[in-house]
């Protein structure tokens, strides 16, 4: 994956998204003519996968003075330990102090998503995981959420914005709405095949009107060799997708020769359910994960000043001076 080029928004640069006490602090320091070179360290509250550092770098590149700065950090996607320092900025405080809220906020939210995604990917033991959670977060963060999921190891994502940031094509089959409006799953699948460009895989959603196994056979017969896969998304009202259902659909497809049609599963997948599918040996070809990733709790980060004008200092509860961490690389 190629790292994207982030561009900080005007709202962030203007300080509008900051906690109000930061702009006030800068104002006071200006009145007092205080602008010492200060070293801020950022550490994490729990272990996980670091994400958001690229966006933070793009922000710092816009605000730090040209010469007088030094920034050390872990790289996007690296694992991090609890309480590990992941970022260290040394520069005149007035240049970056107002961005503390934005910096730790970006890291918190993105690392939360990436960490949850990696848990799913590890639980899936090689079966591709697709991020399907765009519908559970505010559209303003759909892009960074899906990008973070990709950083965490997902093989794809459903949103166009996420695909663009991550530099990949978004993935998706078809919604129930299409089938309901066309009134028939096979008909909708044929229309999909007719109008979609050839590079879009033909995957049909097979739980809308009839039994999943029955509908799988119907769309396979309708589309023949062009059918790439079926997606099972049985609602909780019908007991959700079970491992036995996957096995049965596989067997019934194979029996009539559709051994190449792949089976994708979605609907309420979390770590426990993913592990259950993997351990039961259900022949799944892909897993669509929604709110387990997109609703992951952000990982809180803390920022502290540890040196002012080269002198170790810290608030109570922290140890003054630079915290050694040989894993950090100088990035600016």
């Amino acid at each position: 994956m190629k790292l994207p080029k982030f561009e900080p928004t005007e709202a962030i640069l203007s300080g509008e998204t900051a906690d109000v006490y930061f702009p006030r602090t800068i104002e006071i320091l200006r009145h007092e003519s205080l602008d010492p070179v200060a070293t801020m360290e950022v550490f994490t509250s729990r272990a996980g996968t670091l994400c958001g550092m690229e966006e933070v770098r793009a922000l710092l590149a816009r605000v730090l003075p040209e010469d007088n700065h030094e920034v050390w950090a872990l790289a996007e996607g690296e694992t991090m330990d609890r309480k590990e320092v992941v970022l260290r900025i040394t520069a005149p405080y007035q240049s970056y102090g107002v961005y503390e809220t934005a910096i730790v906020g970006i890291l918190a939210h993105c690392s939360g998503w990436a960490t949850a995604a990696r848990e799913c990917v590890e639980a899936a033991r090689g079966i591709p995981v697709i991020s399907f959670g765009a519908r559970h977060v505010h559209p303003s963060v759909v892009g960074v959420m899906d990008y973070s999921a990709i950083v965490g190891g997902c093989a794809g994502c459903s949103s166009i914005a996420g695909g663009r940031l991550a530099g990949i094509e978004p993935s998706g089959t078809m919604p129930h709405a299409l089938i309901i409006i066309m009134g028939d799953t096979a008909k909708a699948t044929i229309a999909f095949d007719k109008y979609m460009p050839p590079e879009v895989p033909r995957v049909s959603l097979v739980d809308t009107f009839k039994d999943e196994a029955e509908e799988s056979l119907l769309v396979a017969q309708a589309l023949g060799d062009k059918l790439n896969g079926v997606r099972l998304d049985t609602p909780g009202e019908r007991g959700s997708v079970t491992t036995d259902l996957v096995k049965e659909v596989r067997a019934r497809l194979d029996m009539v020769g559709f051994t190449k049609v792949r089976i994708f599963v979605s609907g309420g997948l979390d770590l426990e359910r993913i592990r259950h599918f993997i351990e039961s040996g259900a022949p799944v070809d892909g897993l669509g994960v929604g709110s387990y990733i997109s609703g992951a709790k952000p990982i809180d980060f803390t920022a502290d000043l540890h040196e002012v004008e080269g002198k170790p200092i810290a608030k109570r509860g922290r140890i003054p001076g630079i915290t050694p961490n040989p894993r950090l690389k100088r990035i600016m």
Copy 2:
């Protein structure tokens, strides 16, 4: 609280934040010349406080055809039951189908925040709760997050963006960084008082260098009657703020006559800790809550078609036709 005027962004209007299968669906329907009037219902996966409906309305106002539509909904901030329908849209499907991802995403994220905020507010039994979680979410949603917290009942928030949306002044004391750079809590408090406009309450942060009780007395003596309050934010490394600490600071302030100085508490507050403070009778005057609100899990919403051209229909697992809900009001 006056409801804000939301303005959908270009990214949302263009469909870029949508799941890719929705733009594809619209494309297929256009090829098939299918644009039936369809009724979509949105229901929630768990009980809580509804938020985001104003932003959804602003979006629909931009995309629905002028005449041929009907929208029914619960109002911003209302409580909602598990599985209750909160929104019902009837209009030509091509006009709004591509926005399903955005609509349920806005409701999910905002309702998650508002619901968590209301839990805190109820646990606090009248003690004001301030949203301090801007630093734990991506800056792109800082504003809507703090706005949702206010909808849920918070008395204030720390971000400028959130304050603007909610139509209130943001709240904040001072960061540890100001005190560390000025090297002394009393000195920083005096500077704060000197340069801040008179309407900003003088609240000092008293756990940076010395024992909280000692530092409280020092800033009270430095600022005299002008001191509005102190904020206790003892880090976990020092055992966090305890109820006994609050009682002791209150007693020591009172002993020397500072009975009007208020005490604010922040740092790792969740429902259990808030209840503990309230039940122990600790004399707290305000509670700053961070990641319990900002990191609240979004409340998943589900959107389903229930009628097409006036005929009841639904996918398996749902009941065809309009779901009666007398609490809905027509909003468009």
Copy 3:
């Protein structure tokens, strides 16, 4: 319900089903010419519904001497407390001693079934419960098992033997085997209707080949007003029957006018699942319970001598002499 006429088998009367030490004891006593009038009391190890007493009475009627006996007991179907004496026999010991194993065995097994049945009936709060457990016990006890379930409050049972003992018609729809052999649910239902006598209710099993809701509509359309009900028996591999499925089938049947078709549910029902159906308000018209009743653990009973020739006596751990219990009635 009219109490049945039980007839002890030759195997029981011959002592062949007894613990071997009882025939041996009788042999020793005969050699010693000891045949005192002895009083045996039988008490239960836990609370429940007494069942089997009619069968025990039939046995005693065959073996006790004509004059010299007295038998007191609780009645079939009465509730009993833990450690309560439910049966007291006074007669020459040689006449009944060898039947101790059979007497407590009958009471243990039958009371276990009746008690489990009553739990289900109480959990179902008025919805009829049918005993469907014949397939989970040895055919030698199918009859007494279903009879005990009826004593416990079940409205019906599936076995012919049970129905005969309880004096009712056995209940049943059709097996999956009929549908599979006929190859189509509607066809099987029509054949059922064609050949079954008019008093057998027309209830179709609707989960064999297609989605339950779909198949329900198909059989309703095929049989019209003659259809009495449908039975949902979704296997665990498909998530079992859910409360939402029942609601949806009800709604879809009602929508096309089949409001009189009843819905029966079976498959893995236990107390927890019965309560879940009742509390969720699912419109169920009957519940078929299998192994929760038929596999109920027998309730152990203990038999002790408390008087010999009118003198109180007892082994260690028991209190010598007659145990007062005003609830006992003289039955022989």
Copy 4:
């Protein structure tokens, strides 16, 4: 152990113990002149020890047509996995369809007992386990229950019927009733010795009137070298048999030279208590287990048609066609 010759009863052969819908199905199929060769597979709901297969074979031998059949099965006493197919019948459906209830009922009940017995035998690590549960089940199944316990590994059983089926002598000491009627344990033991044939082991029950240790010494002194063992059966009212009691009785017997008198324990033994006895090193020579074995929950079995006239078929939730299982042997 030599396998017994089972003989199906008239009640089973007549279909009277069947679920009523099976006779009805046969009636419908006859009217429709449908009698296809069908393959039924039977699988188990949980792992355990298979039992009842001999009785099932005896039943099939009576009902299947002479030529047109094939039966594959696991053998009596084999272990089976969860969901493993243990029996496969291919024959004209009308010949065996009505016996589905009986076939799965026999396997369910017998396998439940055998599985519980094997658990006890394994927990006892070589100490013989005797089935003492006849008094906790209906006399109609006493024989098959004790037979199943022997299949599961028990060294003996108390019922005459069970002993006959398993081809062994039933085991037993003497009941409390004998001692109470004779009024003295030593006297009863002497009478037992006087009248019982020489092959019956002289085992005395030593908890009726006096302390167990005291009574053990009394019967040992009364019978001398002829005493084979004592049985401890202390009731729960006196704290049940403890491991220390066994050790003490052993020590007191040894002290006066009765080192060959064996000690048997019974009363409320389950897996936990058996393990406790074994792990504590209590010198037990035999364990009598009652309701843990006889009250074991039956293991549900499921029967499904998988082929009709050679064509794979199955209801929803099952996979059509023969399920491969190389462990099956052809038995008919």
Copy 5:
């Protein structure tokens, strides 16, 4: 109960039992000529029954200066709340500072015992509880332990030292050793009756050689109307005393006319077992409690200076100045 006259030992008065830093502190203060009037408050770490205050008062009476002192306290045996101040001493610090260890130690240990005793007494709902724990504590505290149990509500105690302090006769039956040496329970009981003064109740221990019920009848027959009671103390190796044993002994005694012989129970009694006896309705006439009382964890007390020379002061974590408690009475 009349309060005893305590007399502090030389070891306490000399400071030898103190934490070494208190004598050192006094030495430093003497060198510095510092002897301010200081107020020390003592509070408890958990709720319970206060005990030891009389002994503390006796100590203070020996060491405080004649005039210049004031002592406020709760009374012996009063209930106290968690964190409640139970003692307040105002006097020149050098006069009492060295005794802090002794003061809080006396209160801690005695209140621990009294609190546990009261729990037993409350659980026993009117049945007398006797403290039998002397054998589980060091003989140096046997007296104060049993005294504290009496303060907590016990009706008696077994130690002579405890009886003396509490001003009552010690209670006791006879040890197993007497019976073993005399070789026979009845014989030992007759000897006891022969040599003991008439005011000692004749209570026999009935579990040494034979079954408890048997031995109870033997001693009752041996002593006739002179027998006051029997004590059941069945060891754990025999299943401990059960509620059914008590009922049976009662019944067997009553059957032969010994309705006035009382039944005392001991052996491993704790709150749970006491409640079990009471709730089961076992006819117990007295309960002997050992290590539940004598092994009770001491209740930690904390002593703090709150005023020095009339000025409020306190260490961090405490509130300076006198803590109001209207329940305190001036005792010196």
Copy 6:
């Protein structure tokens, strides 16, 4: 550690601390002229560290007849198993019978303390543990309690009496009272240094008035190289001592060159907290443990006669005759 010379008190020798039934037993035996040589064995109710045996030996040395006795025992401080015999006395019963209460009481209380101490010492993995619990027990047992803690492995104790028994100097820093009376921690530390003999380590208590880190630096600067250590004893009201606090104090001391100043921790330490400190790698130099050791539940011991005049005998529940234990050594 050299074993101390214990001297039984008059109260013990006179039998005043005994259960009253022992003096009564001796009186009866004297009247009956019964004084057989009897063997008493003492065993423990749970595994642990044996302590008190030296004191028991001193008692027996005073009371046993010169010639006619034999005493076997485990040694002070040895580990013992559950139910292991730790002491066996053979002598005329009248000479020692009355001391049963004292013997088992001494062993119970002392072994309880020693066992808890050893648990702490093992949890501390080499970091010295000091017994600080004198303030939680009655002063009459302060000495034996601290002695037992030393036997269990503690490196020191705070009480003078405990130190004397164990033959070591008592340990201690200074109480909060000294600091409060002198009004300043540094001042108190200087006074301590001025007046204490040189062999007393200079350890200052640093949580009285200011933040612990701040106060540590103040006393280090005040006393310079003479400062041996600081003790952190943060009260629960301030969150107790945390591992991070220890790390921070260490870092801040090191930063200004006080690398030799040691850090001691006390306050509510139990096994869990000790392990937490050790596992977190906090640089602790000593741990002061209070009520976990001093409030340890005594380990009950049981004494039984097993031989009278050379003949095996025992009460029910025990095995007559000498219990073999090759670990016992003859000590008298």
